[in-house]
Assembly symmetry: D2
Homo-oligomer: 365 residues x 4
């Protein structure tokens, strides 16, 4: 683990939404770097803190005890883009390119390289900085597991676990009451959480953004079960799933550079339709942000630690412009640019999807 | 535990909504009664099964392994009232008094007494049957803890636990993102779940149906925290809580004898208002039925077992017309009639509420 | 909540073994006292910190975020008694009365009253200080629930929950393998954890220190189950339980004023004997300190908060020399002296014990 | 998924020790096979049931609701080898080859192929049957993750999760009391559980069977932490770990063909030695069978389902003599014979082990 290029000072930041494991990554980066004699800064509140010059020095005790904790000790935000930075002017918000200021703040502290732990949006900003000459290493973060180039993002296993627990609880109520229980889980564009939690929680139907669903198929499944004396059903739907012929019940609000996406209650709508078409009482639960926070599973803590160590090693090796990733169950390095504009979705030949079909799960098609 | 009145055959049923601990009560009733040489029938699907003559004999092995399981092995429903029983006639639903049929079904099996495990609605029906001469013993069941005459209903501790877990998860996200997180929990008329989970989960504001809230108080709390550098807040709101001057966002739909209550998204509305008034990003999670199902906590398993044994003992003692209850932490017997028309709400002098005020929680007043 | 006696500065300390909820009590004491304008000191590492003058000022942010955390932010020890304080002298340990020094350290900071959160040993020391004129309020702490004067200590519900989870896990293995699974839980003198966890986890035999057991009864129970086709059994044994005619497998080592108790593997011994006598493969699990730490249950967080607020109110009311306690489910004040030399054990007429007998649990007698 | 070789009737059995996910595999095999029109038998109690002719027909409702349940609905045993089958004769046990009888029992029911879900021992027996001409497919099962040919066995993630939970609980107690906490986890020959749980639970030292440890290294680590003001340490030790120069504290008892292994309290011994050498109070917890049972994690439920479906597909494809396995995160088929006599251990170049070293964990060398 020789530090060939002699980087002496680095910084780490967390950007975008919360994901269980952020602290574990920070801890691994900091401990690995300190172990090699580097100085490490923590940038507060994502890229915003880079602009606003909010940084603290990270020591061994900064990261003591944080492994099991949800959230991020550095704070985060999914709003602040240094290249298009919001500024209040006469009670209006105007946008300015503050990237030079951000770089200047790093230089003042002799920070030679940064580790960016973030999702989609953060990776884009990281890439822009990289092309401005800043040595950057990225760690993929999203509970949705939809970052291209990696099989698994940290936080995903925890989100699936929370959704599976919810299904276990709904299961007993559904069974006792002869009801249809709909669980809406996160996943705007990719159905990974729905697929995994649905399989783990024994769902009868799983509806993904990748497979527009026919309500008739869902109803047919519920009736087929009824015919076999199974008077209840469990349906998992990703928030971004939508009916055939329809469209994603999403409204994009572009506000500055920030898209606000509000989804239209895919689960609630589905529950009402099922009740109407089957006559079976149907209820919807929307898990929401509960999937995003809290202590990570053992799996996510291990994966986060692997990512954090790997990111620090990229720095020692001078392997900048890379995102660390998991492929074929091994940690590799993927050029950030390679993943731009790509997606990571559930495909028709996905082995787990096919396993679901084999055991009789209805995917709405 | 002498069986003075020589009842030889009893039945047990579960009515109304799901609550963690139903199976534990059933198990305790069955094992205690079998232990005294009684024969025990299980009535399926609540009072509906009494009308439809759906009963199964309960043996030791019927109740083996059910202690940790959510739901009810007997099934339940919150729709079927034998005194006002729905019947399809020419594709319309008409209502008929089927109580005589129900009693007849019991007599055919020599069932001399029944244990009714249920909430509000079930207790009313149980009382009517009791006054028709059926020896009845009741066990109070509701996750809301709002049955009068008892300090604690089973299922409540589990519901509070689920809501507290959710708060723990939301906490880390709120803190990392500087957000207001609103958690809407069950509780139409009583705020027990909100109060206990809010206290256990470190909520900053707790809004109960018993205390109409001033949005200004909530906003003031959030701003006071901001002033102290705490840039996030957690708000717990019972589904039945409502603003001062406003009214419960509830619509009652009386349908046959069955009131359908649909609440209007108290939490979602609150989150939007807070965001508007404070400028802090605010999100709402609605836990819904996840609070109702799944494995009971150790506390609820113990309480359920105590209730089940106590109910069986009521039968041995010929103490009919009673509900078993917890008062001053002891199991007692309360005449069912005594609790009719009463409520069990959080009062202004509640010790826990006052403890909440002492540590600075805002209750919206 | 008027502060009649105008105490202006207080301190809080945690003594003895770890118990889930310590931080929640500290938080409630601090927030309640700060809310009334008091100054609050935290004494580090139990009574040792009082002697060594290790104290920190407690602010609102000292207790931020600690509610869900196990352990104690103040540190603790179950070794240091100021009245008999260990001191190294020429590589030997001698004991000295350092109570005057401890009181002096308080006076220097104008500390007028202290809240002691602790068990047996800490309460004794608290009482000694009280009789020396120090205004003291105590909060009962032990996961064993064996402090006299209170129905419930905080930490107990969590310990029971951990043991119940373990039983749930052992249950499936026992059933699949046709084994006897023995779980040894904490409880040297009192069997509360064994009783509650055993009832909650569906144990077939529960062995308590209060009821010396006949191995024949245990064997008979296992064989009776076998005869009914139940080829496995679950046995819960408190670490302090012992066979009839035998004695507690405890060795007391008096070392200075400190008794060291080492128990002799009650569970392991039992498992071997059962295997020998029944021919059924038997395994023992000793949960140990896992029962003591970690995040408290919602119940324990609420109880701890109630205790903390009540202790602060004692100070405002000048009600010194008291321990706050739970009796008949209400928070009351009990003179510390009243509890000295008393025990809190499971008695033969305990309602839960009798409920256990009613559902067929074998208590070894 | 064409059933090319027209197998019409199959059987499934579970052998060896309990592992979370057994029921999920059974369910997946049964549902996949029923979906293709096959008839499925369940063999009770492992290979013993094959000899004793204990089989039940598996239907859709046999496997309803079993996904989240620990244990195995088929029962299991780790004692009965048909090729060396124990038989009582004049109160002595003699061994006989009963494999012909076992095959005969299959033939009587027209069972053409079997799925064996089991570990080491079961795989050996499966291989012998395969070479006698019985079409066999195997699914690797062990919580220890030490079956060669596969990256991951089901049950492992759950065991790691249980051990990590325990570490989280021990952590707070260790920190509050300034103690060394030793956790002994399963793993006789392979240290996978210790490695993963240790990393996930923030252990300071992790001791594996693969790396004989120097007690001096462990002590040095604890003292180095003390010097940095970290007055507590967490040590995870696999039951099969042993000191340099020493040997595994294992005694093998060969009894019939069955080796009984009893380990000698590696954790307890270590804790005593640490206390002696550092003067820091040290305690050991042995998790034991709690790691083996109970509901599987979402990860294990998904993996088990994938394995079960893959095993059924092997049968449809006539791909007998194979074990399904996970390699590079994909389900593949490995000839059973290929794995015989091989091991799956943590190696010196294991990426996770190296990540552990990078963040400063002591592995005792």
């Amino acid at each position: 683990m020789a530090n060939v290029n002699k980087v002496k000072t680095i910084a780490v930041l967390t950007g975008g939404g919360d994901a269980p494991g952020l602290n574990a990554v920070i801890r691994a980066v900091v401990r690995t770097a300190l172990g090699q004699g580097l100085k490490v800064w923590g940038i507060k509140n994502g890229f915003g803190g880079m602009v606003e010059n909010q940084m603290i020095e990270m020591t061994d005790s900064s990261v003591a005890g944080i492994l099991p904790r949800g959230g991020t000790i550095l704070g985060t935000t999914n709003r602040d883009n240094p290249f298009h930075y919001p500024k209040k002017q006469d009670s209006q918000i105007v946008y300015e390119n503050m990237s030079a200021q951000a770089l200047c703040n790093l230089r003042e502290r002799d920070i030679e390289a940064i580790v960016v732990i973030g999702g989609d949006g953060s990776l884009k900003i990281a890439s822009e900085f990289y092309h401005l000459g800043l040595p950057v290493v990225a760690v993929p973060k999203t509970i949705d597991n939809d970052i291209p180039g990696t099989e698994r993002t940290f936080g995903f296993d925890t989100a699936v676990g929370v959704a599976t627990d919810a299904l276990d609880r709904l299961h007993t109520t559904a069974e006792s009451h002869h009801r249809v229980m709909v669980l809406e889980v996160m996943g705007r564009y990719a159905g990974w959480i729905a697929l995994h939690a649905g399989m783990a929680g024994g769902a009868d139907c799983i509806l993904l953004p990748e497979i527009p669903f026919a309500i008739d198929s869902v109803v047919a499944k519920i009736k087929e079960r009824e015919a076999r004396g199974r008077l209840f059903s469990l349906v998992v739907i990703a928030e971004g799933a939508y009916p055939q012929g329809g469209e994603q019940s999403v409204s994009l609000i572009v506000e500055g550079s920030h898209e606000k996406v509000r989804l239209g209650g895919a689960g609630e709508k589905l529950a009402r339709e099922i009740e109407k078409l089957t006559g079976v009482e149907s209820r919807c639960t929307v898990l929401g942000h509960v999937q995003r926070g809290g202590t990570p599973t053992a799996f996510d803590r291990v994966l986060s630690t692997r990512y954090g160590v790997a990111a620090a090693k990229c720095i020692f090796d001078g392997a900048f412009g890379n995102m660390v990733a998991l492929r074929k169950n091994q940690i590799i390095r993927v050029p950030i640019d390679e993943i731009a504009g790509k997606a990571h979705n559930v495909t028709a030949d996905d082995e787990l999807l096919q396993a679901g079909r084999a055991i009789g799960i209805c995917f709405g098609d």
